[in-house]
Amino acid sequence: MTQTGGLTVALSQIVIQLLEGLGVSVQIFAITLLFSLPLGLVIAFGRMSKNGTISGLTKVYISIMRGTPLMLQLFVVYYGPYYLFNLKLNPTYRNSAVYIGFIINYAAYFAEIYRSGIQSMPVGQYEAADILGYSRAQTFFRIILPQVIKRILPSVTNEVITLVKDTSLAFSISVMEMFTKAKALSSSQTSMTPLIVAGVFYYVFNFIVALIMDKAEKKLDYYK
């Protein structure tokens, strides 16, 4: 009886601590999406630019972001200012470093998704818009982008789900998100339970994300 009671207390302690961590994970997730989705569009424009310097630079940028581990990128963003420029930054820079690292990494992936979507649009849509007198901005935002979003939604869903799991990489620079907490609890209690609970939380988080994205896809199903 008391033993079960003790277990329940221990479990609820774990859940409370992990929920705190989950809050941080959700924050990393939300801020990354909020900034990397629009930034990705800008980078996609750069990548498709007729200006060779701009398209070349964005190509290199995307290549580096996709070709090196996100964990390493987080290290560079966090420790770089000190090692490279001897800048001593406030410890709260840790959180900013995570945001910056995630945003610039995910923007590169989103840029490539946007680009594939934009380039898959039939040229007839641009020509029809041109003949009707739409400006370039109107053509893009009224006619092209809405159709691109429908086309790229499945790929975006993939990235977003990966992002939920990737937030655990913030562990590498000791940001107190859910995985960092789970790892700490697991060590101090010499127990698997915190890790399993964290796993369940990640799963539920992604289940909800998938549900929302599925709703969005269905909503755009009204046309072909």
């Binding site: 007839g124 020509e127 029809a128 003949i131 009707l132 007198g133 739409y134 009204y222 046309y223 072909k224």
Partner: protein, 254 residues
């Protein structure tokens, strides 16, 4: 004054010379058909007239607005952006592949440009849109999306979309080439019914009987030049060898 004037138009894609010195004139309300074998440059000519392609050399004029003229080296130089933007309201184009906007319903397809390009009120734009859809026999489809329509219906929506902007000249780039004979019939009937709107029409088509019946002027193009032009009777009865060869199998039907 001519509505459209193209003079000495030349256009190449790489080494391939598609248009070699073509000149055409279209008057107010005039209906001109351009016929000729595939690859003769008919569509390219239309695309030059509608500014989807730029000419290498030649003059392009709508009414008294010069859109392109030749420089000293004989290369086309185009007018500034503002002039080009203005001239876009003079003409419309109906595509072979319709190119409707799939994410908008039929009514929005025909009214959005009126609202967002011509800056007219939504009420007014939708009223005009509905009238045009009625004329096309598609009023009951106003809430449908393009994918729910047959090819012929989509093309009729595309015609309504072009007419909604009130152009002075409407270009048709093989408007029935993507349609089966039955749907072709309904689209041609609609185009014929536009005659009473008294807007000029320039129609690139492979429908010989249609071209003969509707046109004030027929232009026969082959290999990037105009081989014959004149009234339908003149062109279709031409003794020109190239024309005879092209018409070959149509002759009995005509």
């Amino acid at each position: 004054m001519n509505l459209l004037e193209m003079k000495n138009v030349k256009k190449s894609f790489g080494d391939l010379q598609v248009l070699r010195d073509i000149s055409i004139e279209v008057g107010d309300g005039e209906i001109v058909s351009i016929i000729g074998p595939s690859g003769s440059g008919k569509s390219t000519l239309l695309r030059c007239a509608t500014l989807l392609e730029t000419m290498d050399s030649g003059i392009l004029k709508y009414e008294d607005t010069v859109i392109a003229k030749n420089n000293a080296d004989g290369k086309s130089v185009y007018a500034d952006k503002k002039t080009i933007k203005q001239v876009k309201s003079v003409y419309g184009l109906v595509f072979q592949q319709f190119n409707l906007f799939p994410h908008w319903n039929v009514l929005r397809n025909v009214s959005d440009a009126v609202i967002n390009v011509q800056k007219k009120s939504k009420t007014e734009a939708e009223k005009t849109g509905k009238e045009l859809l009625d004329k096309m026999g598609l009023l009951d489809k106003a809430d449908y999306y393009p994918f729910q329509l047959s090819g012929g219906q989509q093309q009729r929506v595309a015609i309504a979309r072009a007419l909604a902007l009130n152009p002075k000249v409407l270009f048709f780039d093989e408007p029935t080439s993507a349609l089966d004979p039955e749907l072709t019939g309904e689209v041609l009937k609609v185009i014929k019914s536009l005659k009473d709107l008294h807007i000029a029409m320039v129609i690139v088509t492979h429908e010989m009987a249609f071209a003969r019946d509707i046109s004030d002027k027929v232009i026969f193009m082959a290999d990037g030049v105009i081989v014959e032009q004149g009234s339908a009777d003149e062109v279709f009865s031409s003794e020109n060898e190239r024309m005879q060869l092209f018409l070959g199998r149509y002759k009995d039907i005509l």
